[in-house]
Structures are given as structure tokens and as C-alpha cells.
């Protein structure tokens, strides 16, 4: 999303779905995982919208959809690419939008070679490093510029046409198992629901992200929505449905290793000085042109008066990264004995992470482990009740990890904010004091920092300066000395030289006179008011409801909404009017906060040498992009190519029907004994694991189960780990409805109750029937309802851009009955691996 449009967040908000004429839900089971938000899909349907659900399984979302399209897990780019093909071949694009608001007309470097030229690779591939040099992907430059006729053979539009030329309905049928007539019906419905008078929206979730080519799934949808003119307009957009309460917030104010608050990159070890850092990451044009102001204000928020122009605002205090330090890499390092201590908060990796066994084995290599949760979750209890204790792979007496289990306060026991799926910050107040020793994360982090600083006080060691110089002066209150969450929010918002809260990020300065903890959140405490705590009922304001909570940036609900008006500033149609140019007042007006400088007229042309947003035209709606337009083609920012390409999942029963290149060449793999892979199609022994495996969630449980398997009212609703299989697969493998089945991969085997259901369709792919096995991943060894963990089956094979595991498509075998216990379990799995290695077939 960031690469295509400029910001890493949903382009729209859930309430806006009611204005859609067509909603495509794909890579998401919205009704089950976002039941409250789904009311707006139901509302759209009541208003006449067509709802299409594309998913391997028929779910509770499909039950309410007008059309459910089952497809093979892991084939989405072929499907979406087929839609791109359909739009281009039948000239269904919204021409003026495409020409003016996207980079369709931009001419690309003549060194660029497409996957069509290189059989599945782009130019710049280095087999030695296993990565791309994106030099040839660049724009040709200002000399050639753009071709608004879209005819130049090297303009993005023509490249796009060639890239997707073979993504025909017949190819979609071959790869996805979707019949051509159903596929064309989806294309036509989508196209008929787009244009100046109509709009269509896409909703996705981790069904798209959790793949070795996951980012490119989303990119394909971004291309479709650009071609159809559906971004920045009411009823349009791409809604990224986040997995739980504050997942959007956890990237905005990141828990990630490679970004700082507000999506500023973490400095790399080779970026020596602040000037070098700024030079590398700032853009000359667009709002990233103020990168320096965002950075300096952040450094001032953290290090206060210690940050001075002389010391580069304490830039050297920031840690440096020198490679991949993401979750799974850290687990590998842990397993190899290179990580001493580990904090786990709000997460249960022993159940929730792919290849859970590897994670549990890694925990056993730590010196110490801190787990903060409501109950003793599996991550805290691994040392005495992990499945590996039963198999003998771990012995409690041999585990030296010192485990600290600290009780956490629940959301009702603390103040704070959630940033939800639509970038909306909503405040919640403490209702009761936390019981006993339960404490908030804020309490824990603040007092941990305070105690560390006390221990370091007086140290002359320069390495302690970053900690000692931190501004760490939050007010506390009450007997437990809870820090003020509002003070933290105010610091994130920032203040100016007069000490007053800032109103918007355009007030940020490079001279150190402003303080701001996350520039994208600047304004959430405007006028010294906690804007996130606003709760004006929907009935008392417009449907956009700007007075409910606060959305970043600048309380904007639809991003890039300048695109809801045509280049001249008029709405594309009366029905789809949202933001427009008010000639009389000389400013932008409408239902939302315009995502544009208020007084910049539609006919504005940048003067020579203009910088930042001043360098963008009055009809450049994508104000974060250097060229002010959305990117059909991404000349930079992605590790695995400027255009999405269908690659098979890392483990697949099928060879790639489009290219010789089987899987994403840039995907991250860990080839080591504790992360064995099933052979994939074309390799010896692939038929030992003949079925497609996909994992998912149920409404009744919450992610890794720590908050639901412990609750009686929820556990009784889904009291057992189960697998879903088609009647045909049940016959093929003698699986009994209501009985037990054992599901096997090279990692392990798990047992589950069996639901034989027509909701899992057998698909016809490349001339043969393919069965898919569905597994909800909520279970673990503890709580009221217990069961094996589906994630234990999955391999660690990751997307190269965001290091997310491929959890939604792998291969497996399934057999009737319960799994063996103890060492016999490992023997069973070893037997499978041996047969796979020697090319033997499944039992």
C-alpha cells in the first residue's frame, strides 16, 4: 500500500463500504474475523451492492456474499492478474484517472526486462546474492518524461499490458481452478461497478499478506483499483483489515525492527551521519520532502534538551541495523544460542508462530524469558508442557531458561488508545484498578526504564548515554504509580516552541523547535484536547463521523481524496462527490478533510525549483509520492519486482504454469534441519504431501487463543481443534465425519477432529483434482479447550519485503485417526521425510 499510494494504511474506512457498488473480499474472512465491521458490507448489500467473496473455503463471509468463488490457496496473483488482463484487453480502465492520477504514462528505463522476457525473472537478478538490483527498474528520467497517449512501448501502461498478456481466463482456470465463465463474471461485475458514477472496494487481510509473495498480492489489487479509478473515492479503496485491536498502531508506532515511528526507516549501520541519513531517505518532492522535520522532531521528543544541533539531535543514539533482525531471524539466532533474553508481550509465539516447534526449541536456549499476559500461556509454560517434552526432544531438567511470568492488566484496567484497521485512534478509559500485581504495558515499560536508568546513574560509559539522556519524566498517579497515558499521547502529538500542542504535521520544523513522537499522529492532541477520546454519536454528525475518535493523518477518513474530484477539481459525478474545489472560497471542500493543501488550486503548476509538496501539481492527488501519482509500476521500494507476478507458494503441488521460475526468487528461506521443507512440485517426493493446507481463524476464538481458550462462554462455542475437508477427500483418505484425522508435514503431525463439508470444494487444476485442508490455528496445550497447534505444521518461508511467513498455503498429507504419542510421533514424521527424500509416494 505504501509503495503504490504513499502510506502504509487502508485507503478508506469501514463505514464507507456502505457506498460501494461492489465489494470484493479476498484474502479475508471478514464476517468471521471482523464481524462488527462487516455490518457495513451488509449495509452496502441492502443498498444494492454486489458482494463477491474469493476464498479457498466457503465461510460465513461467503454465506452472505452474492457470489463465492473458490480458488486454490496461493494462486491469487494469477486471479487478480487475470482481472488486470481483462480490464486492459476490454479497455475497461477509467482512462482520464489512469492518465492523470497514475504513472501509466511514465516511460521506464530501456534496460528494464520483464518476466515475459526472462521467464519469470526481472532484470537485475543476482543469483549469487539471491536478490535484485533495481537499477534498471527506474523511470527513464525527465528527458523522456511521460506519454499521455499511453502508446510509447516503454511507458508503464504498455509494460503492464505485456506483463499480464498471458493472464487469460483460460490461464486463470488452469492455475486457480476457477471456471472461465465465473471468472469473467467477476471481472464484468467489478468493471460494471466502477467508473465516474460507480465505485468498487477491495477488502483483504492476512489471507493475502501471509505468503512468500504477499506484498505483491496487495500490489495487484492496487493496480486493479488504479485502473478502475477506485482509489480516493467514496465506496472505493482498498481496506486492509488488520488482525486485531491495534495492529495498525503497532506499525505506526512500530514494534518492528526496521522502522521508527511514522514509518521513518531505522538507520542502517552504513549510514554514518544525520545528513547522510536524511539525504538517503528524504524526497525532493511530495510530503516526504519534510523528512528532516519529522526526524529532528522525533529525536527531540526522545532526547529532549540533550538533543542539540551540535550533536545532530542525538542521531547517534539511535540503534543501527545491519541486516534482517525480524522475528523469525531472531528465533533462528535464539535457537543458535545467540540471543540471551526475550520479552513477549501480547503475543503467544509458541502457538501463534509458524513452525511453533522451532520457536519452542529456541525458547529453551535463552538465559531468560519475560512473558506478560493474562494467564500462563504456552509460551510461558513451554519448559514443562511443550509437545516436545512428551516426545522427549526437550527435557525440563535440561532447560536453563529462567522464565518470568508477569500478570498483565486488561484494557478495562488501563487508559490508552487503539489504532484500528482504518487508522482510527480510539481512546479507552480505565474502568477499574488492575487486580493484584497486574500492570499495564505502559507501567511496565516506564518503570523498567526508570529502574534501568537508576542502575546506570553516574555511569561514565558512553554506551549508557542514550538511555540516561532519554526524556523519561512521565507523571504518575495512584498507589501503583501508573504513568499518564495521555502524557504519552501528547508527546506523540508533539508541541511547538511555546509548549502548546501542535495541530498538524505541517507545523513541524527542522530547527529543533518542535517536538513530535510520530509525525503521522500529529494533531491527535490538537488544542490540548485528546481528540482520540471524542465520541459524538453517529446520528449527531455526518456519515463520515469526523468527531468520533481521530484518524491519521489529520483526521482524514479517505486517503488521497483529491482523486474523488476530476483534474479540474469537480466531482467525477454527483453520486460519488466527496471532496471538490470550491472556486468561490478558493479552497478544497467536501465531506472529509481534503488530502491536499487547502488552498492549492486544481490548475496549480509548480514553479521551477519548487520543493516538497510545492513541487506537485494541483492535479497530483497522491501527495506522498515523489511524482504525485499512484504507482501501477513500482520503480523502487520492493525487493521482488516492480510488478506482481504469479509464483507458486514455496510448497505447492503444482508447477508454475506461467514461467520456469517456480516460486518467488526473492523469498526468504531457512534451509536448516529444524525447518525442513516439503518437496515442492517438480522435486523428488513432492507427492508425499499431495494436498494444499491453509490456516485461518474462527469468530469464536482470538488468534493464538490466550484470550479465548481460557473463557468458558467462548470455548463451549468451538470446543475442539478441527480440520475441514471435502467429501471427496474424506472418501479418498477414509476420514470419518466427527472422528479424528492426523495432518502431516515435514515439520510435525497434528491431530484434529474432522468436519466433512461441501464448503470445501475440490478444484480442478492443471487437469487434476486438488483437495485443500482447512485448519483453524487457535489451539494449544493450555486453557479450557486444548488441542494441537496448526501453526506447528507450517514452514518458515517468508516474503522478502516484510518477512511474513507463508501460513496460508503449504502442502500436507492427511490420514484417518489420532496421531501417535511420544517418540512415535517423531518417528512418524521422520518416516514421511525419508519417503519424501527418496522419492517414495504417500501411503
Amino acid at each position: 500500500m505504501g509503495t503504490s499510494f504513499g502510506r502504509g494504511g487502508a485507503t478508506t474506512f469501514q463505514q464507507d463500504l456502505q457506498h460501494s457498488d461492489c465489494i470484493v473480499i479476498m484474502g479475508s474472512n471478514m464476517a468471521e474475523c471482523h464481524p462488527v465491521g462487516f455490518q457495513w458490507v451488509v449495509e452496502a448489500k441492502l443498498r444494492g451492492a454486489t458482494v463477491i467473496h474469493v476464498d479457498p473455503r466457503f465461510t460465513r463471509t461467503s454465506a452472505l456474499a452474492d457470489l463465492h468463488v473458490p480458488l486454490r490457496a496461493g494462486s491469487d496473483i494469477a486471479f487478480l492478474g487475470g482481472i488486470v488482463h481483462h480490464i486492459l484487453v476490454h479497455r475497461r480502465e477509467m482512462r482520464e484517472y489512469v492518465v492523470r492520477y497514475t504513472n501509466a504514462a511514465t516511460i521506464v528505463d530501456d534496460g528494464f526486462r520483464d518476466t515475459e522476457d526472462l521467464d519469470g525473472l526481472f532484470s537485475g537478478w543476482d543469483p549469487e546474492t539471491g536478490s535484485y538490483d533495481p537499477l534498471t527498474w527506474q523511470y527513464a528520467g525527465e528527458a523522456l518524461g511521460t506519454d499521455p497517449s499511453l502508446e510509447h512501448p516503454r511507458c508503464v501502461f504498455q509494460i503492464l499490458k505485456r506483463h499480464f498478456a498471458r493472464y487469460t481466463p483460460a490461464m486463470v482456470e488452469q492455475i486457480c481452478g476457477v471456471s472461465q465463465d465465473v471468472f469473467v463474471r467477476v471481472c464484468e461485475t467489478l468493471c460494471d461497478s466502477s467508473g465516474s458514477d460507480r465505485t468498487a472496494a477491495f477488502c483483504y487481510a492476512v489471507g493475502w499478506t501471509q505468503h512468500t509473495v504477499g506484498v505483491q498480492y496487495i500490489r495487484t489489487a492496487a493496480i486493479i483499483q488504479q485502473l478502475l479509478g477506485n482509489i480516493g473515492r467514496p465506496g472505493g479503496g482498498i481496506l486492509a483489515l488488520r488482525g486485531h485491536a491495534s495492529i495498525q498502531g503497532s506499525t505506526d508506532i512500530p514494534t518492528l525492527y526496521n522502522i521508527l515511528p511514522g514509518y521513518l526507516p531505522m538507520p542502517h549501520a552504513d549510514t554514518g551521519t544525520l545528513d547522510e541519513y536524511l539525504a538517503r531517505h528524504a524526497s525532493r518532492t511530495g510530503f516526504w520532502g519534510h523528512f528532516d522535520a519529522y526526524t529532528v522532531s522525533l529525536l527531540r521528543a526522545w532526547w529532549g534538551d540533550a538533543a542539540t544541533p551540535e550533536n545532530d539531535w542525538c542521531y547517534d543514539y539511535l540503534p543501527r541495523i545491519d541486516g534482517d533482525h525480524s522475528t523469525y531471524q531472531t528465533v533462528m539466532d535464539m535457537r543458535d544460542g545467540n540471543v540471551a533474553g526475550f520479552f513477549v508481550m501480547g503475543e503467544n509465539p509458541a502457538v501463534g508462530s509458524a513452525n511453533g516447534k522451532l520457536h519452542r526449541l529456541a525458547l529453551a536456549e535463552l538465559d531468560w524469558l519475560v512473558v506478560r499476559d493474562f494467564t500462563a500461556i504456552e509460551t510461558a509454560s513451554f519448559w514443562y508442557d511443550a509437545p516436545e517434552i512428551e516426545t522427549g526432544e526437550l527435557r525440563t531438567a535440561d532447560i536453563a531458561t529462567e522464565v518470568f511470568l508477569l500478570p498483565a492488566a486488561s484494557h478495562a484496567e488501563k487508559d490508552g488508545s487503539f489504532t484500528n484497521t482504518q487508522r482510527l485512534l480510539q481512546w479507552h478509559e480505565q474502568a477499574v484498578e488492575p487486580a493484584g500485581d497486574c500492570r499495564s504495558e505502559l507501567w511496565f515499560m516506564y518503570h523498567l526504564g526508570r529502574r534501568i536508568r537508576e542502575k546506570l546513574a553516574g555511569s561514565a560509559d558512553p554506551r549508557d548515554r542514550p538511555v540516561l539522556d532519554l526524556r523519561w519524566d512521565y507523571l504518575t498517579h495512584g498507589t501503583i504509580e501508573e504513568p499518564s497515558a495521555e502524557a504519552v499521547l501528547r508527546e506523540i502529538n508533539g508541541w511547538g516552541p511555546d509548549g502548546r500542542a501542535l495541530a498538524r504535521s505541517t507545523e513541524l520544523k527542522t530547527d529543533g523547535s518542535t517536538v513530535c513522537g510520530a509525525w503521522i499522529y500529529c494533531g491527535c492532541y490538537a488544542d490540548e484536547v485528546n481528540q482520540t477520546a471524542r465520541r459524538t454519536p453517529g446520528a449527531d454528525q455526518s456519515w463520515v463521523a469526523p468527531e468520533w475518535g481521530w484518524a491519521w493523518p489529520d483526521n482524514r477518513r479517505i486517503l488521497y481524496n483529491r482523486a474523488s474530484a476530476d483534474p479540474s477539481g469537480r466531482p467525477w459525478s454527483e453520486r460519488k462527490a466527496y471532496v471538490w474545489w470550491d472556486d468561490a472560497k478558493g479552497e478544497w471542500a467536501g465531506h472529509d478533510v481534503p488530502d491536499f493543501e487547502a488552498g492549492k488550486p486544481p490548475d496549480y503548476v509548480p514553479p521551477e525549483g519548487a520543493q516538497a509538496e510545492d513541487a506537485l501539481r494541483g492535479d497530483d492527488p497522491f501527495v506522498m509520492q515523489v511524482d504525485g501519482v499512484a504507482w501501477l509500476y513500482a520503480p523502487s521500494g520492493l525487493e521482488d519486482g516492480p510488478l506482481p507476478t504469479h509464483y507458486e507458494p514455496h510448497e505447492s503441488p503444482f508447477e508454475n504454469a506461467l514461467y520456469r521460475q517456480q516460486s518467488n526468487p526473492g523469498r526468504q528461506t531457512y534451509r536448516r534441519p529444524d525447518n525442513p521443507y516439503n518437496p515442492t512440485a517438480g522435486q523428488l517426493g513432492a507427492d508425499v504431501f499431495p494436498y494444499v493446507l491453509t490456516t485461518y481463524r474462527l469468530t469464536e476464538h482470538h488468534t493464538a487463543g490466550g484470550m479465548s481458550r481460557t473463557v468458558g462462554y467462548l470455548s463451549e462455542l468451538q470446543p475442539a481443534f478441527f480440520c475441514e475437508v471435502s467429501p471427496a477427500l474424506a472418501r479418498e483418505r477414509a476420514l470419518e465425519h466427527g472422528g479424528w484425522a492426523t495432518i502431516v508435514t515435514a515439520r510435525t503431525a497434528v491431530e484434529a477432529r474432522v468436519l466433512v463439508t461441501e464448503r470445501l470444494a475440490t478444484l480442478r487444476v492443471q487437469g487434476r483434482d486438488i483437495h485443500q485442508v482447512g485448519l483453524p490455528y487457535h489451539w494449544g496445550s493450555r486453557g479450557l479447550t486444548t488441542g494441537d497447534s496448526a501453526n506447528d505444521l507450517l514452514p518458515l518461508a517468508l516474503d522478502p519485503n516484510v518477512h511474513i511467513q507463508e501460513a496460508k498455503a503449504a502442502t500436507c498429507d492427511i490420514r484417518p485417526g489420532r496421531r501417535p504419542r511420544g517418540p512415535e510421533l517423531t518417528a512418524l514424521v521422520d518416516g514421511y521425510r525419508r519417503r519424501a527424500a527418496t522419492g517414495g509416494t504417500a501411503q
Partner: protein, 255 residues
């Protein structure tokens, strides 16, 4: 003070997403005990039926279609709060009563656990709790109504599948909804329990269904089981009188 209007539930199963928020909200508000964990292998339904510890129950019905694919029906069932409620008729203690809202409620401090109401209910709703012997069922959140709140299930329902309000309004709304669905080609849509002339004189909780009632586990033509009681009593009285006459006669003859 005038009586409040009769209120009810209109459960529109065509927009139910089977999230079971109604089941959980009901149990939370009414502090209903946990049930044993049982995997029923009945689609996503592990509750089974309405009972003493289940006052809202979401049924899941998977229907393979001739054209291929599948239809998945979901429906949140509840006590019907019948206009003519047999449970109420047979209750000897007065524990069951009709409230000022027209709903039927058990008073837990009066119920003596006789259980007469259990077989009397034509829908199999009311049920005895094993460990205390008393009967329990949906109260339409009588305590919440008195506090000016809507029932917990209706408030929790994210898609407005469960609608609460004055029964007359709900019936009008439901009729319009059926018309809309028919216009859209969903000719199978029909109402259940809305008709004041049916065997229970209409229910306070009625439904929009997409198939025959039996598919959802509902009786096709429920009849208040006490319908024939007056008639039966008349016969009983006549028979008693006749018997008394015979006895009297026999005594007369002896003299």
C-alpha cells in the same frame, strides 16, 4: 401510567453471519452457567439446541446445491414469547407470568421446579437446569427493559439480524423486508411466527427464514398445547357431574 407497547424480536436470518455474539452477550448479561465442552460435528454449531443454559442458539445448516456449491443458513433461535403461552397456562405457582411488555418470564425465586411447563412448550424452549431443578429461559432481558435498554443479544448483533422493538413496528418492517427479498429474487424468504392467527396466536419473537421451518429445527405449525384444555375441562366437568349423579343415585337406591 399507560402500559408500554408489546415488544418483541424480529430475527432476520438473511443477514445473520453466525458470529454467536448473541449467545455470548446473553450468557454474559444473564450470568448463565458454562456448558460442558462438546464437539457436536454439526457444522459450526456446538450448542445444539435451546436449553436451560442456552437462551439464544445459532443454528448452522449446510445445504449442497444442485447447481454445485453450497448454501449456509444461519439463524439465531430464542424463546418465542407466544401470545398464547402454554408454559404460562400450566404453571401452578405463578412463577411464569406475562410482563407489562407482553413478554413471558420465569421468576426464579418462585419456580418450584415442578416442570409442567417443559412438555407444554410447543417449541421445546423452556428447560430444567439439572443441578437446581428450576426452569430457565429467555426473559427478553426483562431487567434491561425496565432500565430502558434493549436486550443484550439485540445490542450485540453486529448486522441487525436481531432487531428489538414494538411488535407492531417489527411486523411492518419484516413484511417490507420480505417484499424486498422477493423483488430481488429470493422467493424462498418467508416469515415465521408473525401471524396472530397461527396456533399460538402469533409469537413475540418471530423470524424471517429462507427455507422451511423444519430445516431450522422449528415446528411447521406450532399449536399452544393448552388449546384443548377448556374443552377437556368441560368434558371432565360433565363426566364428574355424571359420576356424582350416579353416586347420588346409588345412595338413593340403597335407602
Amino acid at each position: 401510567m399507560s402500559e408500554p407497547a408489546r415488544v418483541g424480536f424480529f430475527t432476520d436470518t438473511s443477514v445473520c453471519i453466525g458470529c454467536k455474539a448473541c449467545e455470548v452477550a446473553c450468557k454474559e448479561w444473564n450470568e448463565i452457567p458454562d456448558r460442558p465442552l462438546e464437539f457436536l460435528a454439526t457444522s459450526y454449531d456446538n450448542t445444539g439446541a435451546l436449553g436451560a443454559d442456552t437462551w439464544r442458539h445459532v443454528a448452522f445448516i449446510e445445504q449442497p446445491r444442485e447447481s454445485g456449491g453450497v448454501r449456509w443458513l444461519m439463524s439465531s433461535d430464542v424463546c418465542k414469547h407466544c401470545t398464547s403461552a402454554a408454559c404460562l397456562d400450566v404453571c401452578p405457582t405463578g412463577a411464569l407470568f406475562r410482563t407489562e411488555y407482553g413478554t413471558v418470564v420465569v421468576q426464579e425465586d418462585i419456580c418450584n421446579g415442578c416442570g409442567y411447563c417443559v412438555p407444554a412448550c410447543p417449541f421445546g424452549v423452556i428447560d430444567r437446569r439439572k443441578d437446581d431443578g428450576r426452569v430457565w429461559k429467555c426473559t427478553m432481558c426483562y431487567d434491561r427493559l425496565r432500565g430502558g435498554l434493549e436486550p443484550a443479544c439485540a445490542q450485540a448483533c453486529p448486522t441487525d439480524s436481531i432487531q428489538f422493538g414494538p411488535l407492531d413496528e417489527l411486523r411492518d418492517r419484516a413484511a417490507r423486508r420480505v417484499d424486498t427479498l422477493h423483488d430481488q429474487g429470493a422467493t424462498e424468504a418467508r416469515l415465521y411466527g408473525h401471524d396472530p392467527t397461527d396456533g399460538v396466536d402469533g409469537t413475540g419473537a418471530f423470524f424471517l427464514l429462507l427455507d422451511e421451518p423444519e430445516v431450522y429445527g422449528l415446528p411447521a405449525a406450532p399449536v399452544v398445547t393448552t388449546r384443548d384444555l377448556p374443552e377437556m375441562w368441560r368434558w371432565t366437568a360433565a363426566a364428574g357431574a355424571a359420576l356424582a349423579g350416579l353416586v347420588a343415585l346409588s345412595f338413593t337406591r340403597r335407602r
